[in-house]
């Protein structure tokens, strides 16, 4: 700490003497220079995130008035969102679908991350790249690929038909919640693997050896050391998947059908065909508030369970 204090403002005087006014102030104050370097990024974020968000909040209290907006602040939209069951139903379905997808992804990715962290000794980097590579390719194309696979005449159906396993195509594959869950779990796998891998890799191997020396079997070692210590990775993986997927509308739009539509599709409709922007703004705000609430509850529960584990 004291080290940081002494280095601040310790620029040699020969350099500062040549400058004057503002230039001198910037050169002398490292903090000011830091803010100056951060400012371009901050300006973009303020224009692109903060200001739009404030207007979105304001708009959620407006109402539609023909093709224009009535800018008197009312709670009409929020009242509608609570009174009309369709909004609640879509919200509940979004949380259900992305909740299942999140649990499935974390459960399926955990052994994979564990394998790379504990059992891969050569070419670790190659494994990590291999696992995260598909994530960087077009989201739209990955969703499209699942359409090709799950479709009425898709890969699964046509191969099962050719093989004579089924007589008619399985209809539940495409345009269903199942299709959305499978696609989301697959598309967001990289977001689970990376945090899980990092937390598993960090675990001190000597703890495991000590436990083994003291007579703990593999199961006990896993439950008492590996799992609790990798919990931070599990928590961040859960957040990183659950939060973006609840608002997703690409996957449900392409693969969901009527039963698989989610709150994101409803929001998009308000800004598109329905053309009720204030209602769309209200739904966005409600979605954010619910995500924040669920995240807080989840954090609280995991903290409690962590305490009981240790």
């Amino acid at each position: 700490m004291s080290d940081a204090v002494s280095t601040q403002g310790s620029i040699p005087p020969t350099q500062t003497e040549r400058r004057n006014g503002l230039g001198r102030l910037i050169a002398r104050s490292e903090v000011l220079r830091g803010y100056l370097m951060l400012s371009p990024a901050m300006i973009i974020m303020i224009i692109g995130v903060l200001m739009p968000f404030l207007i979105l909040v304001a708009m959620s209290f407006w109402t539609r008035d023909g093709f224009d907006f009535d800018t008197t602040l009312t709670l009409t939209n929020y009242g509608r969102a609570i009174d009309e069951p369709i909004f609640g139903a879509f919200l509940a379905r979004s949380f259900w679908v992305s909740g299942i997808a999140t649990v499935a992804t974390v459960l399926l990715c955990y052994p994979m991350a564990y394998y790379v962290a504990f059992h891969v000794h050569r070419n670790k980097m190659l494994w990590i790249i291999m696992m995260t590579l598909p994530f960087w390719t077009s989201y739209l194309l990955r969703v499209f690929a699942w359409k090709v696979i799950l479709g009425y005449e898709g890969v699964i159906n046509s191969s099962l038909l050719t093989a004579g396993v089924i007589e008619a195509p399985l209809e539940f594959l495409l345009y269903s919640q199942t299709a959305v869950i499978i696609t989301l779990a697959h598309a967001w796998a990289a977001f689970a693997i990376l945090p899980l891998y990092v937390s598993l890799e960090k675990i001190d191997r000597s703890l495991l050896e000590a436990a083994a020396d003291l007579g703990d079997g593999p199961t006990k070692r896993f439950l008492r050391i590996t799992l609790p210590l990798s919990l931070p990775g599990v928590i961040s993986a859960t957040f990183l998947i659950f939060i973006p997927t609840t608002g997703d509308y690409i996957t449900p739009a392409l693969l969901g059908g009527p039963d698989g539509a989610m709150i994101g599709n409803l929001i998009q409709l308000q800004f598109g065909a329905v053309n009720n922007w204030p209602m769309g703004a209200t739904l966005s705000i409600i979605l954010m508030l619910w995500i924040a609430a669920v995240a807080l509850v989840f954090l609280f529960v995991t903290r409690k369970s962590k305490e009981s584990l240790i």
Binding site: L108, I129, S138, L140
Partner: protein
């Protein structure tokens, strides 16, 4: 066998699981090129024979080339700008202790963890209130918000990884801040910069959620694909186009991840 610790003993079940996992991860994406060369407008088994006609058809589409040009322009601009701003931000974050720094970093990283649709509609609302018409510029702004956190996240480990004393040595030897940056800092963080450029370009090139709300009359390539997906008879040409995009992005991202991690592990340990 004896020199391998019993904890690190190979686990056959886990190994098999890992390989199945990788296969399942890649299978859907690989089905796209498989059917792109299939001589049938129906995407189904059994395969009908090899053809390149879907690729040839792509050449004759003016609208596709326009969309590609739009995506490339947006992508280059977004990659350059977000990486430049990312370098400044990453340097500020690692080299100085700023009051409120963690709050600033959390704010900048926000787009990674929030549903994209919220940023898309929020920007749309702001632009329409100010009266700015939707165009490629608005798409660029939207992509900047998505790419900036990734640029910073790619660059941060690079700046954290190298020894601060090298910069101090350069300053002690009489270089001013600008020369120190170009002759010491820049060469060390160059792999991070290349990785950030490649990744942000790919993200922008593939981005569809922001573009969906912010595109005006000129579509980006993903928006063009989205519009084609409504017509089942266009499936084969979309498959052909997707094959090309997937091939190029796989190479670019692999290069980006490889270059970005080059030499990092040595510094970590």
């Amino acid at each position: 066998m004896s020199d391998v610790s019993y904890i690190r003993r190979p686990n056959r079940v886990l190994t098999v699981y890992a390989y199945i996992f990788l296969i399942v991860l890649y299978l859907p994406v690989l089905s796209i090129p498989l059917f792109a060369f299939n001589d049938s407008i129906y995407v189904r088994f059994p395969l009908q024979g090899f053809t390149t006609q879907w690729f040839v058809q792509l050449w004759e589409r003016e609208s596709l080339w326009d969309a590609l040009g739009n995506s490339l322009r947006v992508g280059f601009f977004v990659a350059a700008l977000s990486t430049a701003l990312g370098v400044l931000a990453a340097r500020a974050i690692t080299r100085t202790r700023l009051p409120g720094q963690s709050a600033i970093v959390a704010f900048v990283m926000l787009p990674i963890v929030m549903p994209g649709i919220i940023f898309g509609v929020a920007l749309l609302v702001l632009l329409s209130r100010i009266g700015i018409p939707l165009s490629l510029y608005t798409v660029t702004l939207g992509h900047m918000i998505v790419c900036l956190p990734f640029a910073i996240a790619t660059l941060l480990p690079r700046f954290e990884g190298f020894d601060k004393s090298m910069e101090e040595a350069s300053a002690d030897l009489g270089e001013n801040g600008w020369f120190t940056f170009w002759r010491v800092t820049f060469p060390i963080v160059l792999p991070g910069i290349v990785a950030s450029l490649l990744l942000t370009f790919t993200i922008s090139f593939d981005e569809v959620i922001m573009a969906f709300f912010l595109t005006g009359t000129e579509p980006t390539l993903p928006m063009y694909i989205w519009s084609q997906l409504r017509f089942p008879r266009e499936f084969p040409s979309v498959l052909a186009l997707s094959t090309i995009i997937l091939f190029v992005s796989f190479i670019m991202v692999f290069a980006a991840l490889y270059i970005g991690r080059m030499g990092l592990q040595k510094n970590d340990r």
